[in-house]
Amino acid sequence: MGSCLLSVAEQLFKDLQRTYTQTKHIPDDLLIALRFVFGPCALQALDLVEKRSVKCVTSPSGRKVFQVLGGSGRLYTCYSSCHYCPCPAFSFSVLRRNESLMCKHLLAACLSQAMGLCQQEQVSDQQMTHVLSGQTEANT
């Protein structure tokens, strides 16, 4: 995936943030653009956003991470500064085949952040360490 497509995606998130902050609504042109850039996982991601499946987990040190509750009930930890998800779809479609920019969990995290629809959770710095290392989930 070219760096230009990443730039397009980032601009989309900025446009979404601006528009949603004002109207609390995603206009059709943005929906079409999301579908065009991210493919079928755009609608799956929006579904996760609608269900408020994304949680922003923070700790006193200021460290932040996102956790997304997938359709299977499993919690996926995504980092705030770069694209990574432990789900099989990310491993296959993004890393191996380079067919997609993101999986639906990662996209849901980006969309939730842009739209201000993340749930919030505070944990201790030690708990954050376990969450970041993939050892435990914050709260299932």
């Binding site: 760096s3 980092y79 770069c82 432990p86 491993s91 191996r96 710095d125 376990h130 970041l132």
Partner: protein, 282 residues
């Protein structure tokens, strides 16, 4: 802060370096070092020493194998080197992938975070954690690289917030996957996963020596991974790493295929004697 490795190469260069091609400061330039274990370890150690002594940075050096010996002689390479500054380098001997991940994930708990994180032999952490080949499941490779990236990004915010003018927190990993049957495609796939999170690749190619001088030589190629190519260009920067039989280490820039060698050194090569014009170095 210029790219750490370019600082290392200039620090240990045998003479003035005329090339002014550097990375812009404050550009994210996390690096993967791709080469045989000995040379990679040497480069990582020199990076730690340079960062600690010359740049005054706190360095965290992750390795499974304690340093018992090194090919290089620091005192032989840089007389007058102040080794007491090496107290800024902390070695962490994490035995397993799980220990390593937890150590990196816990860096936000430190009162005094590092500015440079070095990981020696990343593939050993990944191999020991599971059976099968690395390329069967790319997620662990990506997980490690993403965690390092996220940690460095967070520590950069902390360092900037404290007004510590030491540039962004960076990380350098060495990674030399031994794929079944030496399949280059599998190795390239693993590197491509790493390079989603790292911006610079440093490749070390050993140059076959004559066996007489006792010195070892590697060609060093610094190239940008895709996101950074717009700023840095596609062309790889080349250096030559020479380790003398005494252990003294030297880096020489390579421009247009030619090493820049100080005038006082006459080097005999297979092609014939070469004398460099001092004007080239000025």
């Amino acid at each position: 802060m210029a790219d750490i490795l370019e600082v290392v190469f200039r620090r240990f260069a045998s003479g003035p370096v005329t090339s002014d091609a550097r990375l812009p400061p404050d550009v994210e330039s996390n690096t993967v070092v791709h080469g045989d274990r000995d040379s990679s370890r040497c480069v990582l150690f020199l990076a730690a020493v340079t960062a600690a002594t010359d740049l005054g940075l706190k360095v965290l050096f992750f390795t499974q194998t304690p340093f018992e010996s090194l090919q290089v002689s620091l005192r032989g390479s840089v007389p007058g080197l102040k080794l007491e500054a090496l107290k800024n380098v902390k070695f962490v001997y994490a035995k397993t992938l799980e220990e390593f991940l937890e150590d990196v994930a816990s860096l936000h708990e430190l009162d005094s975070p590092p500015s440079l994180i070095i990981v020696d032999d990343l593939e050993r952490y990944l191999h020991r954690s599971r059976g099968g080949t690395l390329q069967d499941d790319l997620s662990p490779v990506a997980h490690v690289a993403a965690l390092l990236h996220d940690t460095a990004a967070f520590l950069t915010q902390i360092l900037h917030g404290r007004g510590e003018n030491k540039g962004p927190c960076k990380f350098i990993v060495s990674f030399y996957p031994e794929c079944d049957g030496g399949e280059r495609q599998a190795a390239d796939l693993l590197l491509s996963v790493l390079e989603r999170y790292l911006q610079v690749r440093c490749t070390l190619d050993e140059v076959r020596g004559d066996g007489v001088t006792g010195q070892k030589e590697w060609r060093v190629y610094l190239s940008a991974t895709r996101p950074l190519q717009d700023q840095w260009g596609v062309q790889a920067r080349q250096w030559c790493l020479v380790v003398q039989s005494s252990g003294a280490v030297e880096f020489r820039p390579v421009i247009d295929g030619e090493q820049e060698i100080p005038e006082e050194q006459n080097i005999s090569r297979e092609e014939g004697d070469v004398e460099t014009d001092n004007k080239r170095l000025n």
